[in-house]
Structures are given as structure tokens and as C-alpha cells.
């Protein structure tokens, strides 16, 4: 029974079904419980939080990643699975501290001031949630001061900054400078991304990492997380 629920969670992550109303890859599964309902059921059945996360959610996401690498899955598939995992993590959040599961870090994401473009930033948010991170999304056109305030208040391990315009990417440098002025630059790893941004630019403004796309952004955060642990 316990194994059945965990298997179903894993299978529905692979199918990218957050709730019972979602369509998956296979036909005729609409109406059957999705990841959110199954995680609730797992909790009421008293299943181990660790098993739900490692065998169910992460197990499913690993297979999704493999399918994407193989060209079998597309980005919308990855995002659907990541959204399902993100929703599951929200349900599990109150139980994480006592579960003994290693909790991944908190990430604040924002599109910098004067820039209204947020598709890339939103995708990164979904993927990070799917990877098990807690994400606070400040939105778009966020002032430098508001970003620095959020870092002070939330104390995230990571800050992701996004910009689509060459005219607004300078806002990223301003955020880093203000964090330095406030003496909190070293408390947070900063990754930047967006169409005009490059690895060279990231280095030049003193960012810790650069993500060319959403998947690379997650990979960079994971790499920074493991280097911090070491």
C-alpha cells in the first residue's frame, strides 16, 4: 500500500500531473489523483516524508530529466513535472524540519528595476521549486532597495536576478553594490540570467554564477550549493 502510493507519486511526477484535473502524457488518466492529492494521502497514511521526497518526488524528477536529455520530453513537460513537485513541497513544508530530510536552500528571484519581462524568471522559479528549493518570487521591475531588503529579511542562500534588456541589466550590478554597502554580500550566492546577460558580464559585476537558461540556472544553484557544503 505504502509502496503503491510512493510509486503513484513518482509516476504522476513523470506524467507532470499536479492535480486530478491535469492531463498527463498517457491518455485517459484525467480524474485520477495527481501528485498533490497523492502526497496528502501519503501524509494521512503516515508514510515517511523522506520516502515521499526521495523515492517519489526526486525519483520521478530524475526520470523526467533523463527523458528530457533523450529528447523524449520537452520543456513544457519538465515544467509540468517541476510544478507538481513544487506543489508537493509546499504541502510537505510544515513537516520538513522534523522529518530529518536535508532541506534545500531558499532562493529569492526577481527581475530588476525598470524591466517588466519575467517569463525566464518565472520558469526558473518553477524549476527551482521542482528541484526542491524554497522560492520567494519578488516579481518584476523590483527596485534595488526592495531586493536588498528582502535579502536582509528572508536570509536566502541564493539570489537570482533577471533582466531582458541591455538597458536594465546594469540594475544587477547595482543590487550587488548595495548588498556590499550593507555588508551582506557574502551571505548570499548571486546568480544572474536573461537574454543580454553572459558569463563574462556575470563575472564583471561580481555575481557568483550565470545561467544561460532555466535548466542551467538550477544546475548552477546546485553546484554552488554543493561547493558551499564542502
Amino acid at each position: 500500500m505504502a509502496e503503491d502510493i510512493i510509486s503513484l507519486i513518482k509516476e504522476n511526477v513523470i506524467q507532470g500531473r499536479m492535480t486530478k484535473d491535469d492531463e498527463g502524457i498517457d491518455e485517459e488518466i484525467v480524474g485520477q489523483p495527481g501528485v498533490a492529492e497523492l502526497v496528502e494521502k501519503a501524509l494521512t497514511s503516515g508514510l515517511s516524508i523522506k520516502d515521499i521526497i526521495t523515492k517519489g518526488l526526486s525519483g520521478g524528477m530524475n526520470i523526467v530529466g533523463q527523458k528530457f536529455e533523450a529528447g523524449e520530453y520537452f520543456i513544457p513537460d519538465m515544467l509540468a513535472s517541476a510544478q507538481a513537485v513544487g506543489a508537493a513541497m509546499e504541502i510537505l513544508e510544515p513537516y520538513l524540519a522534523e522529518s530529518g530530510v536535508n532541506v534545500k536552500g531558499k532562493v529569492i528571484v526577481a527581475t530588476v528595476k525598470d524591466d517588466l519581462h519575467d517569463i525566464g524568471k518565472n520558469i526558473v522559479s518553477v524549476l527551482l521549486r521542482g528541484a526542491g528549493y524554497t522560492v520567494k518570487d519578488l516579481g518584476n521591475n523590483v527596485s534595488t532597495q526592495a531586493i536588498v531588503d528582502a535579502v536582509k529579511e528572508e536570509k536566502p542562500q541564493f539570489l537570482g536576478l533577471s533582466a531582458l534588456l541591455t538597458s536594465t541589466m546594469a540594475g544587477m550590478a547595482e543590487v550587488i553594490q548595495m548588498l556590499e554597502q550593507n555588508g551582506i554580500r557574502d551571505q548570499v550566492k548571486i546568480i544572474v540570467g536573461g537574454a543580454p546577460v553572459s558569463a563574462e558580464f556575470a563575472k564583471s559585476i561580481g555575481a557568483d554564477g550565470y545561467g544561460e537558461d532555466g535548466f542551467q540556472a538550477v544546475a548552477v544553484v546546485e553546484a554552488l550549493a554543493s561547493s558551499t557544503e564542502n
Binding site: 491535469d22 502524457i25 509540468a80 519575467d118 517569463i119 518565472n122
Partner: protein, 512 residues
């Protein structure tokens, strides 16, 4: 179930109804003045016996001036079937063509003498030896039976190819005038289960190729019901001349009631007026003359209104299939055929370029798109052909298939109706209410339904242009895929009954 083809919902038309009628009337006038010169006696007799005016022309070659009255043409247009079925070894590959329905079938062909091999030698940078690139190298050579088998094999697997016209002329040492037809028919039919259309090299071989088709189809009646082969005859040489030998072939094909494309290929500027109205009036008269003769031989013979007009190059006076006017003429012909409710054999994709590359892609895509949009039923779209139809390159055929997949998608009918719009309004309202405002989750149900067009399949890694190399790999994969050959028993009967087929084409003998 026949093949679906591409149903063009609202076909592109250049001519107004009035212009179409003007061309028709001009063609009728041409058929009586000056009429056609016939070098074929039998055609003269047939037309004369039905009321055509005939005068003997004095000169070195025996010929006659034939004036075809309008009523004969109109009667022929009446008896010519408005729906033509072209069968196939695999019945699911049959083509059903209605003259007034712009459903486009994409067809290979036509015969080229040169086969273009492709290789990818590596070149090293002179100053930095660590830098290497692979560049496609094209090597022309004479086509062989083996090449024809390969071409038929790959075209069997190219999804957008609806029917097969052989792409390469077989020029092996053991191929003669006498055995060419049986070998080209067998090589094509044994490696491809789609409809096969061909010209005939020797009229003496007509009975043999028809018998071969009967054996494959399962009998005479079965071949009538499922005509797996059809013929194309250029009985009219422009301007306005019935050719002696091809007219003989045409008459004999009509007597057997097998489907036949009546094709004319005037060259604007040399064998037809360069002005659009002139070449159109002439080609229409030439095709109608052929159709009239065919219907007099055997009323009800399934015919295709075949048009291969082309403009002359001004630098060489050779054909310029890549010229814009060539596409205009072809589109006009599609309209004329539709005016008569006859299925149309049309042409696109023929290019002036000698090798695959930018020029060939631009020339062929231009005409492929615009001519396909006009809705011809049987579109000979020159899969793999280069250099004005004189060179065939299998790699180019694989590239063309990818282009046609895009075109096929583009020509889909829009789905905009009330239920669809209501669903979209619901979707828009739902997404706008979410914090992320992304429609991505709605893509998924469509991802694998075929409702979203694919990427260009030969896209490289973005840093280099790998189109040829990727297409070449696909070509090799297609060659490695098996094809459904003619079964062993039928194959044995064909080799027993039909003389002249090369023993090396007998796959069952060569395997044992």
C-alpha cells in the same frame, strides 16, 4: 483508405474567372487555327473520323495539319473522368483525385541521367591545424538500376512522398532499349509500395509492364480496380505538334484504359510566347488536344491534365525552372484544369542549381510553396532533383521531405470556431489570474497530438551549419530500414513470365 494528401482550403488563384474563360476561348481558336501538326498517322485518322479537318503537309516528314473543332473538345471534356484513382501496391497508399477538389499529392520524379553521390571529406585549417571542418562534396555519375532501387527504397520511407515517379535513368551496361522498361518498372515497384507513374521507353514493352502490374495487383480486373501503375506521355511537342512515337504510346495506353497524364512542356520564349496569356492559351490547347485524342480512343480513359510550362533562360535559352514566371504559368494551369474539373499534374521544386545548397533551397521552396498553395492534385515536386531535372541527389530528397512537412503543416485549415474560442477565453482568464501568467501548461495536451509544428529537423548545435551531415545520417537510416518487397511467389512469376528483367534484381534468388 487512400492517402490524405494536403487539402488546400482556399487555393491561391492568379486568374479571374473571366481570364480563365478568355484563355479557354483562345485555346479553342488555336485548335482550329492553326490547329496541330500531327506526325502520327493514327491520331490523324482517329481525329478525322470524328470530324476534325485534316490537310496533308508536304515536306520531308509525313505530317498533317489537324483542326480540332470545339465540340469534339467539349465532348472529350465531358467523357473524361472527373475523379481519378491511382492505386498502389499497398492499398493505403492509393491516391483519389477529384478534379474540383484541391487536394495535393506530392510526387517524386522525374527521370535524370546523373546521380549525385555525397561525401564529407575533412579539411584542416592551414594556420591552425587543430581546426577541422567537414564539407560536403558532390560527385556526379551515371545512374544505375541499383541507384533506382535505392531511390525507390528511400522514397518509400519519406513521409510526404505520396507517389513515385522514377528519379533516375538506368544506364547500366546490360540495360538496353528493349529491357529498360521492364527493369525500371520492376526496380521501382519492388522497392516502393506507393503509386508508380512512368513514361515508356519502348512501346513494345507496354504489354510486359502491364502484365507485370497485373501479376502484382492480382489480376486484370484487380489492376483495373487498383491501377498501381500509370503512364505519362508527352505526346504534344510545343508548339502544337503530335509526336509520332509518344502519340503511339499514348493511344495504346488509352486503349488499355490505364490512367495517363497528358503532358505538355512548352518553353516560354522559344517554343511558346513569353507572355503569360500566350503560353497559357497554347499549353491549354496542347493539353486539350491530347485529352481529346485519348477520349476518342477510349471514352472514360482516366486522364490527368498535365502541365510542365517553363520559362527560357535569357543567357542560354535553356529551361529556367527557378524563374518566377515558371511558377506563375504552373499556377495558371492548375486553375485551367480546375475549370475543366480535371485532376491536374503540375510541377514545382525544379531548380536551376546544380548542387544542394542555398540556391537550390530558395528556388525549390519558392515554387513548392506557391504552386502547392494553388491546389494541384498531382504535384510532381522534384524530390531530390537539381540542375533543371538532370541530376538526382538522394540527400536533397531527404531535405525536400523536411521542407514539405513544414509546408503540409502550413496549409492546414485554421481551427477557429465558437467552441474553440470559448475554450480559449476560459484559458486566458485562468492564466491571467495566476501569479506567473504562463500558458505553458496548456501546451502539453497538444505536444504529442501533431497540432504543434516541429523544429527544422536538421538543426545543428547553433554554432555550425550541420544540415547536410544530419540529413545524410537520416538518409542512411532510411536506407537501412526494410521495405516491403513483392512477395516471393509473385516475384517468381514475374521473372518467369516477363522477359528481360536483370537476374540481380531477384532478391530471393540473390539471397539463396
Amino acid at each position: 483508405m487512400p492517402r490524405k494528401g494536403i487539402l488546400v482550403d482556399r487555393p491561391y488563384e492568379r486568374l479571374t474567372r473571366e481570364q480563365v474563360e478568355l484563355i479557354h476561348q483562345a485555346s479553342m481558336q488555336i485548335l482550329t487555327n492553326p490547329g496541330l501538326i500531327s506526325f502520327n498517322r493514327e491520331a490523324v485518322d482517329i481525329l478525322h473520323s470524328h470530324g476534325a479537318e485534316v490537310e496533308t503537309i508536304t515536306g520531308d516528314h509525313q505530317s498533317w495539319q489537324v483542326k480540332i473543332p470545339e465540340k469534339l473538345v467539349l465532348k472529350a471534356l465531358d467523357s473524361a473522368p472527373k475523379t481519378v484513382k491511382l492505386g498502389a501496391r499497398n492499398p493505403d497508399n492509393a491516391l483519389i483525385m477529384h478534379g474540383d477538389e484541391p487536394r495535393v499529392y506530392l510526387i517524386t520524379g522525374s527521370e535524370t541521367n546523373i546521380w549525385l553521390d555525397v561525401d564529407f571529406p575533412t579539411y584542416v585549417n592551414k594556420t591552425d591545424h587543430s581546426k577541422e571542418i567537414r564539407v560536403p562534396e558532390f560527385k556526379p555519375r551515371r545512374g544505375t538500376v541499383d541507384d533506382l532501387c535505392k531511390s525507390a527504397h528511400v522514397c518509400e520511407h519519406l513521409e510526404t512522398v505520396d507517389g513515385y515517379i522514377r528519379t533516375v535513368n538506368i544506364q547500366d551496361r546490360d540495360i538496353t532499349e528493349e529491357n529498360k522498361d521492364v527493369n525500371k518498372f520492376f526496380a521501382s515497384l519492388n522497392n516502393n509500395t506507393k503509386h508508380f507513374m512512368s513514361g515508356l521507353t519502348s512501346l513494345k514493352q507496354l504489354n510486359n509492364v502491364v502484365r507485370m502490374a497485373e501479376l502484382i495487383a492480382g489480376g486484370k480486373k484487380e489492376l483495373e480496380d487498383n491501377p498501381i501503375i500509370s503512364f505519362i506521355t508527352c505526346l504534344v511537342k510545343s508548339p502544337l505538334q503530335f509526336v509520332e512515337d509518344t502519340t503511339d504510346t499514348f493511344i495504346e495506353v488509352c486503349r488499355r484504359g490505364l490512367p495517363v497524364a497528358v503532358s505538355s512542356s512548352p518553353q516560354a520564349g522559344t517554343t511558346a510566347p513569353i507572355k503569360e496569356s500566350g503560353i497559357m492559351a497554347q499549353i491549354n490547347a496542347e493539353v486539350l488536344a491530347g485529352i481529346t485524342l485519348g477520349q476518342l480512343v477510349k471514352p472514360g480513359t482516366p486522364v490527368l491534365y498535365g502541365s510542365v510550362p517553363v520559362r527560357a533562360r535569357m543567357d542560354t535559352l535553356g529551361d529556367s525552372y527557378g524563374s518566377v514566371e515558371t511558377s506563375q504559368y504552373n499556377i495558371d494551369c492548375v486553375q485551367m484544369a480546375r475549370f475543366y474539373s480535371l485532376p491536374n499534374y503540375s510541377t514545382s521544386g525544379v531548380c536551376d542549381s546544380k548542387i544542394p545548397g542555398q540556391q537550390s533551397s530558395i528556388e525549390r521552396l519558392f515554387s513548392d510553396i506557391v504552386v502547392a498553395m494553388s491546389g494541384p492534385q498531382y504535384l510532381h515536386c522534384a524530390f531530390g532533383l537539381l540542375d533543371c531535372n538532370s541530376v538526382f541527389c538522394l540527400l536533397q530528397a531527404v531535405l525536400d521531405d523536411a521542407h514539405f512537412k513544414l509546408l503540409e503543416f502550413f496549409l492546414r485549415q485554421p481551427r477557429i470556431d465558437q467552441p474553440e474560442l470559448e475554450a480559449m477565453l476560459k484559458q486566458i482568464r485562468e492564466v491571467v489570474a495566476t501569479p506567473q501568467k504562463l500558458y505553458i501548461s496548456y501546451i502539453r495536451p497538444l505536444l504529442r497530438s501533431g497540432e504543434i509544428s516541429g523544429l527544422y529537423p536538421f538543426e545543428g548545435n547553433g554554432e555550425t551549419d550541420d544540415v547536410f551531415e544530419i540529413a545524410y545520417e537520416q538518409m542512411k537510416e532510411l536506407l537501412a530500414k526494410p521495405v516491403e518487397h513483392i512477395d516471393q511467389e509473385t516475384s517468381a512469376r514475374i521473372f518467369e513470365e516477363i522477359p528481360g528483367i536483370l537476374p540481380r534484381l531477384n532478391i530471393y534468388e540473390s539471397r539463396s
